[in-house]
Symmetry: C2
Subunit: 502 residues, 2 copies
Amino acid sequence: MVETLEEEFLAYIKKMEALEEALALVYWDLRTGAPAKGMEGRSDVIGVLSEEIFNMQTSEEMAAFIAGLNQDKENLSEITRKTLEESQKTYDLNKKIPSKEYAEYTKLVAQAETAWTTAREQNDFAAFEPFLTKILEMKRKFVEYWGYEENKYDTLLDQYEPGVTVSVLDSVFEKVRDGIMAIREKIENEGVKPDATILNTKISEAKQKEFSIRILNKMGFDFEAGRLDETVHPFATGLNTGDVRITTRYNENDFKMAVFGTIHEGGHAIYEQNFDAALVGTPLANGASMGIHESQSLFYEIIIGSSLAFWKSNYADFQAITKPAFDQVKLEDFYRAVNISESSLIRIEADTLTYPLHIMIRYELEKALINGELEVKDLPKAWGDKYEEYLGIRPDNDTNGVLQDIHWAGGDFGYFPSYALGLMYAAQFFNQMQKEIPNIDAIIASDDYSELKIWLTEHVHKFGKTKKPLEILTDTTGEGLNPTYLLDLLEKRYAYVYQFNK
Amino acid sequence: MVETLEEEFLAYIKKMEALEEALALVYWDLRTGAPAKGMEGRSDVIGVLSEEIFNMQTSEEMAAFIAGLNQDKENLSEITRKTLEESQKTYDLNKKIPSKEYAEYTKLVAQAETAWTTAREQNDFAAFEPFLTKILEMKRKFVEYWGYEENKYDTLLDQYEPGVTVSVLDSVFEKVRDGIMAIREKIENEGVKPDATILNTKISEAKQKEFSIRILNKMGFDFEAGRLDETVHPFATGLNTGDVRITTRYNENDFKMAVFGTIHEGGHAIYEQNFDAALVGTPLANGASMGIHESQSLFYEIIIGSSLAFWKSNYADFQAITKPAFDQVKLEDFYRAVNISESSLIRIEADTLTYPLHIMIRYELEKALINGELEVKDLPKAWGDKYEEYLGIRPDNDTNGVLQDIHWAGGDFGYFPSYALGLMYAAQFFNQMQKEIPNIDAIIASDDYSELKIWLTEHVHKFGKTKKPLEILTDTTGEGLNPTYLLDLLEKRYAYVYQFNK
């Protein structure tokens, strides 16, 4: 049986995907209950699988596939062509860096993550500074190897959010910031603060789980193609489209963590359960980007799950399951308390309104770092200044400031914007969805949200990584990234929560 | 850094072991809760990992290691030398078969297992017969390729129980059969049958689990280096010495399944948790043989867990946990009921006394098949005749007869004897242990059985696969395989259970 080069390439890719799936299972297992004493042995497994995948991504065989298939690109199937492009992108990303420098960088990042952990615990930025300085230096050099057009930061951005550039972000983020600031001013000047203490009640893990599973079922999460487990830092992982796993964490003193967390991860998971079957076994069976992935989780968590319509429909159920905790709490008061907004220092604890500000701070700082306009030694002060400017508060130590996120220690510059983009994408999708499905509130009032899922599958999920983020947005909504929809939604929501006039 | 050939070889082996560990995790996951729809994708992962391991076992690189290291064998460390022997054994096993025939065989076995499943469901031996005939034909041919000395069957036996031969088995099995037959005659003629109906009571899964975990802790199963999950067909799997997983199945109408099953798998698991650390990353971090592995599970399940001393010590706990189910049941009656013995057709449901007879039947049949003294078409009749001779009953259909086990469909000839050997090894170890630890009943009466575990670790566990089964037996007990200890134990136990005079 003589295979064509295209068939050989697809078989090669399928093997790599199988190794990725094995690796994903190892990680899922580590995070959901693998016994502590097995970790050392398991890290060898991670090492072997990762190395094998890396070797396949950068092999001479891969180089030959790229060279050979590019000669006849127009005759390839669309899936092969896009798979080839993805493979080439990965190949270039790794091979354009001299292998000695690449090895040095890998080692540096591993050391930096350890140094960051200690520095954060001990509130000691100075101990982390030399690592971050070195990472930044190498990252700047890598951008030179990879090449760039308008802005050096674009090259990094493209690794997480293909096609999105600094010029897009600068314009959009300015509008978002101004809009959020205006809402925050209204809250400050005219708002009636909700009573958050009504949420201070203990809800057992079993009750939280029962409610979460009920919502996952309504959303259309397929439990025959997935499962729900517990972990310390929740995540969703798609091993294959028939096996997408959600994890969550129960805090009996704060039901919001598991309830909204499960809805969030459920949104990621539904995305991965609904890639087109034709993409299976290729790197295209993946989210289009970090931001598009986040748009699916935030669509369910923020747009739907934090809406008044959602709680109108689900509050009675929630009261019944958690009985008698909320017997005396009225829907409106509950809803307002859940959606409270306050300036805070820690990104991952921030509410919907302030969250984008945390992201913009990081974006501006890392853009300046990469372009040589800011040096690492000046970072803590710059961080504090930005927090004061955007959120009116200043961290009194680096643990609650510049040391709070692991991203830079891991060399992940260009990653943060995707979190805020996800929220904008979600609001823009929802605006379009409302035009095409006029009775959304009636659907949310029902036991079956699958019409929403079907719409998202048709417009987003099924394409996997065959389309770029802005392509999905334009094809679906008829326009480019437009932050107005997010701002409108936020203004409407917070006007209700804080009882001010729009 | 220039590596020696020995270092290179050990790194190569370590990589293979890591792939084996990944594969073992995939299997564990499949059997404990992987979502149904993910199976298809997961089978590609199994295929890729298995192929990678097979390729490494039989590669030219492996051939070069074997050739190179054998030239300087006396200068290798003991671990490298034994690892080399294991690797060479695997290499020869695969490479002595022409690759075309090997591929044909692999395909045949996969088809035969499917055919067996259907044939068994439909009670249709004729549909399975051509597959088994072909497997047997190939297996006979393979034995010629592999070579043999006294008896063709020895070559197959050696794959599961290195060093054990037909001449050993024939002599030992004859004694065991005669001894068991004599006990069965006593039961038949003089025995008072225990009342088994007292066990017919419903015990919740949670209670069964609580008792099982209590016993696992007493045995010294390390929960920081393992976990307990549920499955359909229970097993234990050692991913690495720090991560050994037990599975069990709860039947609320038959607590014995989970309670004795967990103790059994716990015995396997404790073995795997206690291999010497120096063996980690080599194929020597494995059980010495199928039979030695089984001796460790049966030691805990049959020798300890089904003993009167064990229940004297644990029955009050068991009663308290399962309260009020056994409030009215006296220890003696409970113990007798648990140890009832009866002729039955199905091996995996057989009791301790009749189990070895089921094994001997299979041993005699497969030995005759391999040596050309019995043909597949005559197998159902021969099976029935043997059951009538050994157990006094005859299956009225093939589903309850020759079609009950998957082993032959999988080409596993030579495997069955290990089950019976395990029981003999266990009794012989226990006899020796009693000489060296005089107060065993006092230990069993306590909350901590770790002295037993330490003894087993010192004599069995720590050696992993560095010793052959009979070597372990001789080094530990000062004599070769001696079935007297098993027969003495059985006679004593059943004399009590059936109240006859020894």
